[in-house]
């Protein structure tokens, strides 16, 4: 593909060949963890969620490179699916940037009967992203 693109565009060569080739291996907007914070008052849940006042679930966003390797801890299947998408069937989706690990969240709420409950919920905050 690089050879084809070079043949098709015989214009002046780029100043930095290394950076030129890198764009094909490492996307500009790489898959990574993004910060996002919300307060329960925004959702009007602050009447029954006493704590925490704010919640940072985070999210994963970005492009997945063609060769993920060990960089994202992706399984081999991710590269296989990339190959399927590129070579065989474009209707098969490209691997996506999604959370790989999470941390729990403690929540203090008021129940409808007026009782109070402290509960620890699993997988509430994304802490690491992967391409799958």
């Amino acid at each position: 593909r690089r050879e084809e693109s070079l043949r098709e565009a015989p214009a002046a060569p780029p100043h930095n060949l290394s950076d030129y080739f890198k764009q094909f291996l490492f996307p500009q907007n790489e898959c990574e963890l993004h910060n996002f914070r919300l307060s329960f008052s925004q959702l009007k849940w602050d009447k029954w969620i006493i704590a925490p006042h704010r919640y940072s679930p985070q999210y994963c966003k970005g492009d997945c490179p063609r060769v993920v390797g060990h960089r994202y801890g992706s399984p081999v299947h991710t590269m296989v699916q990339n190959i399927i998408y590129e070579k065989l069937d474009a209707s098969v989706p490209k691997p996506s940037c999604v959370p790989a690990e999470y941390s729990p969240l403690s929540v203090l709420t008021i129940e409808p009967d007026g009782s109070i409950v402290y509960k620890e919920y699993e997988d509430m905050i994304a802490t690491k992203c992967t391409c799958r």
């Binding site: 009007k44 849940w45 009447k47 029954w48 969620i49 006493i50 704590a51 925490p52 919640y55 940072s56 390797g69 060990h70 960089r71 994202y72 801890g73 399984p75 941390s103 729990p104 969240l105 403690s106 929540v107 203090l108 709420t109 008021i110 129940e111 409808p112 009967d113 007026g114 009782s115 109070i116 409950v117 402290y118 509960k119 620890e120 919920y121 699993e122 905050i125």
Partner: protein, 303 residues
């Protein structure tokens, strides 16, 4: 195994699927067993709103009863001790509970018995409704929580020994409608240091809660001996006012999928070393692929 690790159809939404929707199309592995289905019906509102079926407007829901301010203060304190400022549970191996419920009594009847010699304060009938406890929440510990009104002046130098007697009235029993079980506790504390007193009643309540008893009716007799009764009637009066009816605290282990299982996290951490200092050190107990994958990704990141 978590459902997200298995292939699901496009129309399902992970663990929030109710089998009533597509009982035949749904992968048998994803069909919820009966016990979990009950848990689905009682999913916490935080997750229920996100489900495809649960597009509820929580503002139009039946208004919630406001909890007792003292109870609220206690639970906020418990939250601060149990979680960081970001709301992440603190790592602790000392307890396995992931749920704590506080119930205030539904009804009470105060009977004041003034006995100068014993310094008996009052006997209280308490009814606790435990409908909010789900089938998947298993009891670890139950506690009667007494609080003292610190605005009432009580001599800080006073030491008080209290006797607690609990009676349980079994209305469901036709043979013995008023059968009672009683236990006694001896407590020794100093008022100047205590705002809360926790009385462990686990052994007494566990058989009741294990049988899914929804209502627990107790008569609590809180008797306090305050030094020399003949010389401390004033102290006894202060103590009488300072004492408030107890709340019931239940420390539970929620076994449902959405609850945080601390022991899984601890076990996972033990399997995967934080970071091997020596590259040649053999990594023990890497019997699962997830462990190998995590270790390889950590090595790759370091490279």
């Amino acid at each position: 195994p978590h459902s997200r690790d298995r292939a699901v159809s496009d129309k399902t939404s992970g663990f929030l699927v109710a089998p009533e929707d597509n009982p035949h199309r749904l992968n048998p592995l994803l069909r919820l067993p009966k016990g979990v289905r009950r848990g689905y019906a009682l999913l916490p509102p935080l997750l229920k709103v996100l489900s495809d079926q649960g597009r509820q407007n929580w503002e139009s829901e039946t208004p919630r009863l406001q909890p007792d301010s003292r109870a609220l203060r206690y639970m906020k304190r418990l939250y601060k001790m149990s979680a960081t400022k970001e709301g992440i549970p603190k790592a602790s191996k000392s307890h396995l509970y992931n749920t704590v419920r506080l119930f205030t009594p539904c009804s009470e009847c105060k009977h004041r018995h003034r006995e100068l010699m014993k310094g008996d304060l009052h006997s209280v009938d308490l009814l606790f409704n435990l409908d909010r406890v789900t089938a998947l929440e298993h009891l670890l510990k139950s506690v009667l929580l007494y609080s003292f009104d610190t605005s009432v002046p009580v001599s800080s130098a006073t030491t008080c020994v209290c006797h607690l007697s609990i009676k349980e009235y079994d209305f469901s029993s036709q043979v013995c409608p008023s059968a009672s079980h009683s236990i006694a506790f001896s407590l020794h504390f100093e008022f100047r240091k205590r705002r809360w007193v926790e009385v462990d009643v686990t052994s007494f309540l566990q058989p009741l809660i294990a049988t899914n008893r929804r209502n627990i009716h107790m008569a609590v007799n809180f008797t306090c001996l305050v030094g020399d009764p003949q010389l401390n009637t004033e102290q006894e009066s202060s103590l009488n006012v300072a004492l408030v009816p107890p709340s019931l605290l239940l420390y539970l282990n929620d076994t449902s999928e959405q609850a945080y299982h601390r022991w899984n996290s601890l076990r996972h951490r033990r399997k995967i070393p934080v970071w091997p200092r020596q590259r040649d050190t053999p990594l023990a107990d890497l019997t699962d692929d997830q462990g190998k994958e995590n270790t390889q990704s950590k090595r790759a990141s370091r490279r």
